[in-house]
């Protein structure tokens, strides 16, 4: 029946389009000058029907279940639900629904069977109602839209208004999603901060969230300091960036300025493949190839190396970021006007001098933007560090030791049995919030820098 409703909507849209279009064409052929081209009159009718009726159908489908359930439960014989908890009430509802759909277990009480029959009846009525309402609405709007057709009617402006409304709606969706995410993080973070003081979380240097059994014990011992965790993230990010920036930038400069066409046509797709490798595969690579290699090397040199080093995780993450930085730098270099390049070359600058003294400074905003976005990706990267970095929160800056990161901690805190009144679980949200704030600040900086220098060479 729902399909029928959508079919009616589609048909109504097409008929309304044709009707209005023909009506408008008729007016034009009658010798009058239309304000809007006849196509706009058709489009106006189409959108007038499509948008509101679609909203009605979707709302109907969303609300139908709740309304029917409420009606069924209130129609049960008096006293059936007395003294039952919310879980048991849900169980009865589920049983009624399964009987209605034909799956009967054992011998249900007669009142349940009766309720199930009423349930199916209501569902049928509801879907019939949907079709009826759709048809009536379509018809009503069609008549209204048809009555609007006249030489003076500004159909084009009408269409533009509806379309711009749709565009506003779409952008608002993105904004509200962000707000929703932040809000859900914020609520849990506030709960967390009721159990653990903010100063302890922000300035504590010890992170041992697995200890607590009872919330009140831990809130007083101070094992929720995020400093070692964020320091671990920073160490890994620095390792990643130190590896990614030179490789990414130099490969971009080579490919953009020096590489023969054939090399470029091979290397660019390969770099893009690198960008497409799933991070979990990078994790394998880090844990199976890079980490043992670093340990062996360390053993040969007599340097103590932890099994899960920040260097292994950060190094592989750096490789992951190479295509990111190199494609940003490549775009930025290509965007430098040819005139600047020619100007330097015509002065007798070599290609290397041209790149270093003219192209690179002009491309700096784009490159810096790319690097900062890469940094925020490195901070938020999860899979590689979950697999290759450690779990213990060591407060150290030595990349050869095992460190943990914010994302690793969030994952381990939320895995397994969790209860949402325990600071251990809530700490994950607090960490998530901090991560969000840090990456947000970096992104704002990135945008600022890009904006500030954008028109430098225009």
């Amino acid at each position: 029946m729902t399909t029928l409703a959508f079919a009616i909507l589609l048909a109504a849209c097409m008929v309304a389009y044709a009707l209005n279009r023909r009506a408008a064409t008729g007016i034009r052929d009658g010798g009058q000058r239309l304000h809007s081209v006849s196509g706009y009159h058709g489009l106006f009718a189409l959108l007038m029907i499509l948008v509101p009726v679609l909203v009605v159908i979707l709302l109907w489908l969303v609300l139908q279940g709740t309304v029917v359930n409420t009606l069924i439960m209130s129609s049960l014989p008096d006293g059936t639900l007395d003294g039952l908890g919310a879980g048991q009430v849900d169980l009865i509802l589920a049983e009624i629904q399964s009987i209605a759909s034909g799956r009967v277990f054992g011998e249900p009480e007669p009142w349940k069977v009766a309720a199930a029959e009423r349930f199916s009846g209501m569902l049928q009525t509801a879907s019939l109602g949907l079709v009826l309402v759709t048809a009536l609405l379509c018809l009503g709007i069609m008549v209204f839209a048809r009555s609007k057709v006249s030489a003076e009617f500004r159909a084009r402006q009408g269409v533009e208004k509806i379309v711009s409304g749709l565009m506003i709606f779409c952008s608002v969706v993105a904004i509200f999603t962000t707000i929703g995410i932040v809000a859900s993080l914020a609520f849990e973070t506030i709960k967390f901060l009721r159990l653990v003081p903010l100063t302890e979380f922000l300035f504590g240097t010890s992170w041992e969230p697995q200890i607590p059994i009872r919330a009140d014990q831990i809130a007083s011992t101070g094992a929720f300091g995020w400093i070692p965790v964020i320091v671990g993230t920073i160490v890994i990010t620095i390792v990643a960036i130190v590896i990614a920036i030179p490789i990414g930038l130099l490969s971009a400069i080579y490919l953009n300025e020096f590489a023969p066409k054939t090399v470029r046509s091979v290397c660019k797709p390969v770099l893009e493949v690198l960008a497409g490798v799933p991070t979990v595969v990078y994790g394998f690579f880090a844990i199976l190839v890079v980490a043992p290699a670093i340990r062996t090397l360390g053993a040969q040199l007599g340097i103590p190396v932890a099994p899960n080093t920040a260097l292994a995780a950060g190094g592989v993450m750096g490789i992951m970021l190479v295509p990111f930085i190199s494609s940003f730098a490549d775009d930025a270099l290509s965007a430098v006007p040819r005139a600047l390049r020619d100007g330097a070359l015509a002065l007798g600058a070599t290609r290397a001098e041209t790149v270093m003294n003219v192209l690179f400074p002009a491309a700096i905003p784009g490159i810096v933007g790319g690097v900062l976005l890469a940094v925020s990706r490195a901070i938020g990267e999860t899979m590689i560090v979950v697999m290759a970095a450690g779990l213990m929160a060591n407060l150290t800056l030595n990349p050869l030791e095992s460190v943990t990161t914010v994302t690793v901690q969030i994952v381990t805190l939320l895995i397994g049995d969790t209860s949402f009144d325990n600071p251990k679980t809530l700490a994950a949200f607090a960490l998530g919030m901090m991560l969000f704030i840090v990456t947000l600040i970096i992104n704002i900086f990135a945008l600022r820098i890009v904006r500030k220098y954008r028109e430098a060479y225009d």
């Binding site: 020619d342 100007g343 330097a344 015509a346 002065l347 007798g348 600058a349 070599t350 001098e353 002009a362």
Partner: protein, 265 residues
């Protein structure tokens, strides 16, 4: 025109600076320059005129091997500066371009300060040993570029902040700073307003005292005003080359006559 005529007589006495023989330029399969032969005199302004797409800019860019930077471009034939084949294997295009400066159609100052714009060429070629020498080169170049008085108080302001005409004179000063013998100009005034144009034209006339100037222009009035020699290109051919006043008053080829009287192009 009288004074111009005296000038052209002087010019004929000058030595040949650039000589091109049987030059062909190809862009991929397109034959853009066909068999061009020309002798450009020292300390002369030579104008290349012709309709759009006739190859005058392409030929100009062959003189400092800027065409090398275009992958699909191929130059054949013989171009000599002071008798030396510039396409010879032992010629370094980088050093050649230091001797043959170029000014482009659209002003293209680097996104650096005015001072650094001028100092860039001398710096990469090691023309100044001390800061004082560099200051001197910058001042001299800006004076010769007829822009010193406008920018002397803000040498460290960005070059991109100047007006279009000032930017173009800055670019000319930048080209002069590397002490070239030859200055190539590719429609240097096409992006400028009439006042800036006349300033640049005046500058070009002064530059003739020390440099060999080759200028591509769309404006026949400009060619007549600033040049002593004119070459007319059409569809990749050099149709006619001679003293500017002869070309404009008494063209030998019917195509030249059609062009300068506005019938083709």
């Amino acid at each position: 025109m009288d004074d111009l005529r005296t000038v052209s007589k002087d010019v004929d006495a000058n030595n040949t600076k650039i000589s091109a023989k049987n030059v062909q330029v190809y862009y991929g399969d397109t034959h853009a320059i066909k068999d061009v032969n020309v002798e450009i005199k020292e300390r002369t302004v030579t104008a290349f005129i012709g309709p759009s797409g006739c190859g005058k800019s392409t030929f100009l860019r062959s003189i400092n091997r800027m065409n090398d930077t275009i992958d699909i471009c191929r130059v054949e034939g013989d171009i000599r500066i002071d008798g030396k084949d510039i396409y010879d294997r032992d010629v370094d295009p980088v050093q050649l371009r230091a001797r043959v400066g170029m000014v482009f159609q659209k002003p293209n100052p680097f996104p650096k300060s005015i001072y650094d714009n001028i100092a860039y060429g001398p710096k990469i070629h090691g023309l100044a040993k001390t800061k004082a020498e560099m200051d001197e080169i910058v001042e001299k170049s800006l004076r010769r570029g007829a822009i010193w008085n406008e920018v002397k108080d803000r040498l460290h302001a960005p070059g991109t902040g100047l007006s279009g005409g000032q930017q173009q004179r800055l670019c000319i000063a930048r080209a002069i700073a590397t002490e070239p013998d030859v200055l190539l100009m590719d429609e240097p005034c096409s992006a400028l307003d009439p006042i800036a144009t006349s300033q640049v034209e005046e500058l070009i006339d002064q530059l003739r005292e020390s440099y060999t100037v080759v200028i591509v222009t769309h404006s026949m009035q400009q060619a007549a005003r600033v040049s002593q020699k004119t070459a007319f290109f059409h569809l990749g051919n050099l149709v006619e080359y001679g003293n500017t006043d002869d070309i404009f008053t008494n063209p030998k080829d019917p195509r030249t006559e059609s062009y300068i009287s506005g019938r083709i192009g």
